[in-house]
Amino acid sequence: MESSNVRVLVLRSAGTNCDRELVLAFQKAGAEVVALHINRLMANPGQLADYQILAIPGGFSYGDDIASGKILANQLLRHLRDPLRRWVQDGKLIIGICNGFQALVKAGLLPGPMPQLSPDDLFTATLAPNSHARFEDRWVRLASQSNICKWIPAGRSLYLPIAHGEGRFLVRRPEVLAALRSNDQIVLQYVTADGMPAAEFPDNPNGSAAAIAGICDITGRVLGLMPHPERFTDSLVHPFWSRCARAPSPDGMEFFLHAVHFVRGGMAVTMKT
């Protein structure tokens, strides 16, 4: 058995609705998980010290009123900016899934500071309404390709569900995209059946620039993604498992297993110093 416990904080707010399955996914990966309401964290940010992974689940925080994830982002910025900066500097991990991704982007934590841009230039990307202007639930093919991301290694082909109305990844200026590329921050892309970055619906389900489905910060420790890995931790939720010869492998687990593994390794190093 592993000696060190990996502790995960799943952050809830009004309208979070993917927290239960996210807790289960981390538990399946061997972590200890606590789901905490943001009110309680804002009242006592010091609690963050007890955890190594912060996970912001999907849902409709505050109804996605104004824009998706915006009000939650506002809370993170107003009440938790410094603790979260320290968190990242301390080598800890963050994942934002769907609404969590939207909140991280709108709080300026993703793509985060980039050497190519001025340090204050934090609001460089967004997740806009899907190009067809509808909420869309479907499974998508993805390719992972970042060598720095601690959540998923490059070179994986993944099949995961998306379910969102505002997932179209856009950048403010072309040089942001170039920087994301050169910093190896593009973690996941929507791909076609033959593995090429997808430009068209439905392979690219929302019209994202460069088929981007997920990005990380320059440390590789903060990941945001529109697809829902926590929804595919059991073969039987695969959309056509009943016609597969072998039980499909639950691709979503990869993220949670890698993160827990990384923290175990990382913590061992930390303890030596």
Binding site: H37, F60, D65, K70, R78, D137, R138, A163, L236
Partner: protein
């Protein structure tokens, strides 16, 4: 007070998805003169001038309201340029969730906290459209009315709205209102009922009159309202519980009106309590050990495994959806979710279903009766309402259907179902204890939804939209989600549940919720403690408001503080509004005055039960002759037309807008097959982590058969619902049913007669199949009276929902064909059941020979097919329903991207069903299409011995459907892709 205005525009007018979508809809109206639509969001802020300066408004605009990557803010308003400007703002008092969230976020941004629940900066929101192109003011007004605004809740402006001040509710001077009822004549009583929107009949009004005569005083308005709410059809289902004298004319002679006189050969039956003697009776006689709580709680409860129970409720929200489809549908699903949350000791919602009945979305605009919203618009807004509420709640919407018929034009039907799971020991309905406090939790109370319960109990007219706009409710899903989170904590915390009883504050508002919960104990309520959205409500309005997202709890004194604390921690409002006092009376206080005192016994036992007349006379219908419907010359073309019939066509445009996978337990999704475009028969959930036990959810509904025979309509619906759950792996021996009757007004004896027959079918079906009903609901005045006085009654519509335990979800199968070389089998007998078939409907025929369910043989067919699936011997199963064998074959094959060679000679059939078109398109019940591998073929054939079945042919790699006539030659050899395209097109509203 100062008011500021901020507009948020797309940064690039080329990137305006909302504008593009509106433009597409304008094009559909046939208005080519508009060549672009530019949209913007409008925020109006109000604060004391000292509290909010220009700089802060700028910050709000830039940092909060505007996404700098895709948007730009404008302080004040931008000139519309050459286009026509239309602005849409909510009317004062209408729920505006965005405004509420924005107020909170502004407080956060500027460090300005709310005082007494009033935000430092008040917000109202609106939408702005600029229509570019040469269009007249009238054309702009038409677009605004048809597409952009609903005037029952919204106000349209043709210039930028910059009010000097927000409209404010003003507190009203208290005035205790007594209604002098004791001296009224019968005519005056009826007029009072009508004027006051009480919807009580004369006998009921007289009963109330006598009660107050015996008390020697007149009622207050609150007392009268309490009785009207509690005695409404919506709340007590007085028709289904009535004493009925039922006359059945055995055969139609085509002459005269038999309503009033008995004729020779009639049978006359006295039914003491219709629902008790049919639906409830079946359940009680079946006495399944797994039915835990039926017909006494907000939802029916059945056992799931040793630890958990599941409960289900299906509701309709037809009237509100006719007037304001978005809000009506959203609050329909919202109310149903609260019913489940308020079942037993509180259940966690795990799935939703939605079933709609609309008129043809292609109906030409000029054929619409006045006061009616276009069916396509209704469909789109209803879907949006279900989507926005269900998705925000985080409950997967997994199953549904749409039925199209022109008679739903003024009275669409919106059924919402919710499934919940709860610990088994909390399955029973809780009871308030004397001394318990009355805790109101969730949203605030406003004037919204007043008279919803009574309004839903009457017929809609073309004026209803105006007269009853206050009955329309707009939901705020996040308020409800927060409440759900808190209530489940209050249930599961140590020492929990922190309440003795919990119920939804739905139709009839506090009046119904407190009235029902306090039936045995009595209650005293302090109405001035109820938190209000705005000033200006009088005490009676507070008492009957149907404002959404509220629930009522009975809480022991020691648990009040812990419960209020849990709520406060997550910004949920919970208020102690009174006590269940043990008096046996309902007492209402307001500002120190007693405004109502009623005996609980009279509220709950005083409703008179008159005898109602019901008559059934078989309709005079002509059977189409062979000569009228010649066999199709081109079978593939006929099949293509059937697949493109809206009721049969693909619903993917809708399904994919619902999150059907949140909670990560949807094992079979509504769309199946390798490309996710096959219509699954039922959804399957696997709700308990670590367990393989599942639940299948499906429906059956056959409104068109009701035009011929309501009895067979109901039986066919039951058989279809069971077929659907069996197809995926459900266990017919552990299947519960729910009934939802939507009927025209039952004061017409014929309609009541049809209802009697349908209820009798429910009894017979439930008994024969061993499938008890666990919950049901009725909506019995679904008619529309058009401007010209024309009365449009909906078809008799009985929705049957089936909830079935799946012993092991890893044995589930889907309807998509799996493997070339496999055998195709049909199980069940095909007869000349062409009456009400979609095939005959293509030719405009109804017919008389409605499909008949054989209750002697059907249960065995379901059982054996279910057994084969459980043993893993079947690779794919699909039920035969609308469009018969041909449609089922096409769907199975295109979903699996495979073909088949089929020989109709192998179809087991009745003597009268020898023709190819009958074999392909008859809608005989209790039939399945199965795919079986060569390996299991012999075993399956052995198991089916004794049943009607046939080996139709084999699945082929070549994706064509090849059908050989039962007599000579081939009927078709057609690529299944053509069928798929025809099926996908009609309701694909993507463009």
């Amino acid at each position: 007070m100062a008011v500021y205005r901020i507009e948020v525009h797309p940064l690039h007018s080329s990137d305006d998805p909302t504008g593009a979508a509106v433009l597409a809809e304008i094009r559909q109206l046939g208005m080519a003169e508009v060549h672009a639509v530019r949209t913007a969001r409008v925020f109006l802020l109000q604060a004391p001038p000292a509290a909010l300066g220009e700089e802060q408004v700028r910050r709000i605009a830039h940092e909060l309201l505007c996404d700098p990557v895709i948007e730009r803010p404008v302080l004040g308003h931008e000139a519309p340029g050459s286009g026509r400007l239309i602005e849409v703002h909510l009317k004062p008092g209408v729920m505006d969730p965005v405004a509420a969230s924005t107020e909170m976020a502004i407080g956060d941004l500027l460090d300005m906290s709310a005082t007494n629940g009033e935000p430092a900066v008040q917000v109202r929101t609106g939408r702005r459209y600029v229509l570019a192109g040469h269009l007249t003011a009238d054309a702009a007004a038409l677009i605004a009315r048809r597409l952009l605004a609903n005037e029952s809740i919204e106000q349209v402006y043709f210039e930028p709205l910059v009010p000097n001040e927000f409209p404010q509710g003003r507190s009203r001077e208290f005035r205790r209102v007594e209604v002098p009822i004791r001296t009224l004549s019968p005519e005056e009583l009826q007029s009072l009922s009508r004027r006051g929107h009480l919807f009580l009949d004369l006998t009921e009004m007289q009963t109330i009159q006598n009660y107050f005569r015996s008390l020697d005083r007149d009622p207050t308005d609150a007392e009268l309202e309490t009785l009207a709410q509690s005695w409404s059809e919506h709340c007590v289902h007085k028709t289904l519980k009535a004493r009925i004298e039922f006359t059945h004319h055995p055969a139609a002679d085509g002459a005269g009106d038999h309503h009033e006189h008995h004729a020779p050969g009639d049978t006359v039956q006295i039914i003491d309590n219709l629902v008790q003697s049919t639906i409830f009776r079946a359940t009680s006689e079946l006495a399944r050990p797994w039915t835990l709580s039926v017909f006494r709680d907000n939802a029916g409860v059945m056992a799931f495994d040793d630890q958990y129970a599941v409960c289900m409720k299906v509701e309709t929200h037809n009237r509100p959806s006719a007037i304001e489809p978005y809000g009506g549908a959203a609050t329909g699903i919202g109310g149903c979710i609260r019913d489940v949350l308020g079942t037993g000791g509180g259940a966690r919602p795990i799935a939703c279903t939605d079933i709609f009945c609309f008129a043809d979305p292609q109906t030409p605009g000029e054929q619409l009766p006045a006061g009616v919203i276009h069916p396509r618009r209704i469909a789109q807004r209803v879907v949006a309402g279900v989507r926005d509420y269900g998705n925000r709640m985080g409950i997967p919407t997994v199953n549904g259907a749409i039925y199209f018929d022109q008679r739903y034009i003024g009275n669409p039907l919106v059924f919402c179902g919710t499934l919940g799971i709860l610990p088994r020991h909390l399955a029973a309905k809780g009871a308030a204890q004397p001394g318990d406090h009355i805790i109101l939790i969730g949203g605030r109370t406003g004037r919204d939804g007043i008279h919803g319960a009574t309004f839903s109990s009457d017929v809609v007219t073309d004026k209803h939209g105006d007269e009853f706009s206050h009955a329309v409710q707009i939901g705020n899903a996040i308020t409800q989600k927060k409440m759900l989170d808190v209530l489940l904590q209050a249930r599961d915390c140590s020492g929990g549940p922190l309440y003795h009883a919990i119920t939804d504050c739905g139709a009839g508002g506090l009046s119904s919720a407190v009235g029902e919960m306090g039936e045995k104990t009595g209650a005293t309520v302090e109405l001035d403690r109820v938190p209000l959205k705005y000033q200006g409500l009088d005490y009676a309005e507070i008492w009957i408001s149907e404002a959404q997202e509220r629930m009522v709890l009975a809480v022991a004194p020691r648990n009040v503080a812990p419960l209020l604390e849990l709520a406060a921690a997550e910004d949920v409002e919970a208020t102690n509004i009174g006590v269940f006092d043990g008096s046996g009376r309902l007492t209402l206080h307001y500002q120190g005055h007693v405004v109502a005192v009623l005996d609980m016994n009279f509220i709950h036992g005083g409703l008179p039960r008159p005898t109602r007349k019901a008559v059934w006379q078989e309709p005079v219908l002509a059977e189409a002759r062979r000569a009228e419907i010649s066999s199709p010359r081109d079978y593939a073309a006929t099949l293509t037309s059937l697949l493109a019939t809206p009721t049969i066509a693909s619903k993917h445009w809708i399904i994919r807008q619902y999150d059907h996978e949140v909670q990560a337990a949807t094992v079979l999704k509504p769309l199946v097959g390798p490309d996710g475009d096959g219509p699954g028969d039922a959804a399957v959930l696997c709700p308990v982590p670590g367990s393989r036990r599942g639940l299948a959810l499906a429906i059956g509904c056959q409104p068109r058969f009701g035009d011929i025979d309501p009895y067979q309509m109901a039986l066919n619906g039951i058989d279809e619902a069971i077929r659907n759950v069996v197809c995926v792996g459900g266990d017919p021996a552990h299947t519960a049913l729910l009934d939802n009757f939507c009927w025209p007004k039952c004061s017409d004896p014929i309609h009541l007669g049809a209802l009697v027959l349908a209820c009798q079918a429910c009894y017979d079906g439930a008994k024969a199949f061993g499938t008890p009903f666990i919950s049901g609901k009725d909506s019995l005045s679904n008619e529309f009276i058009a401007e010209n006085g024309r009365r449009i009654c909906i078809p008799y519509t009985l929705l049957i929902s089936a909830l079935s335990v799946v012993p092991d979800v890893s044995r589930c199968v889907t309807m998509d064909a799996k493997q070339a070389g496999d055998h195709l089998l049909i199980v069940g007998n095909t007869a000349w059941d062409m009456g009400g078939s979609y095939y005959w409907a293509l030719e405009g025929h109804l017919g008389r020979c409605v499909p008949k369910v054989n209750l002697a043989t059907a249960p065995q067919v379901h059982r054996i097919v279910a057994g084969l699936i459980h043993q893993g011997l079947v690779r794919c199963a699909h039920d035969l329903s609308e469009g018969g064998l041909a449609v089922a074959l096409a769907e199975m094959l295109f979903a699996g991207r495979l073909g088949a060679r089929v020989d109709l000679a192998a179809v087991p059939r009745a003597q009268n069903a020898d023709a190819d078109d009958v074999l392909l398109f008859s809608e005989s019940p209790t039939r399945y299409l199965l795919e079986v591998s060569a390996e299991h073929f012999d075993t399956v054939v052995r198991s089916l011995r004794g049943l009607c079945f046939g080996v139709l042919g084999r699945i082929t790699e070549q994706p064509n459907l090849v059908i050989r006539s039962a007599h000579a030659g081939y009927l078709m050899d057609e690529p299944v892709e053509n069928f798929r395209r025809a099926w996908r097109g009609p309701l694909d509203w993507s463009v």
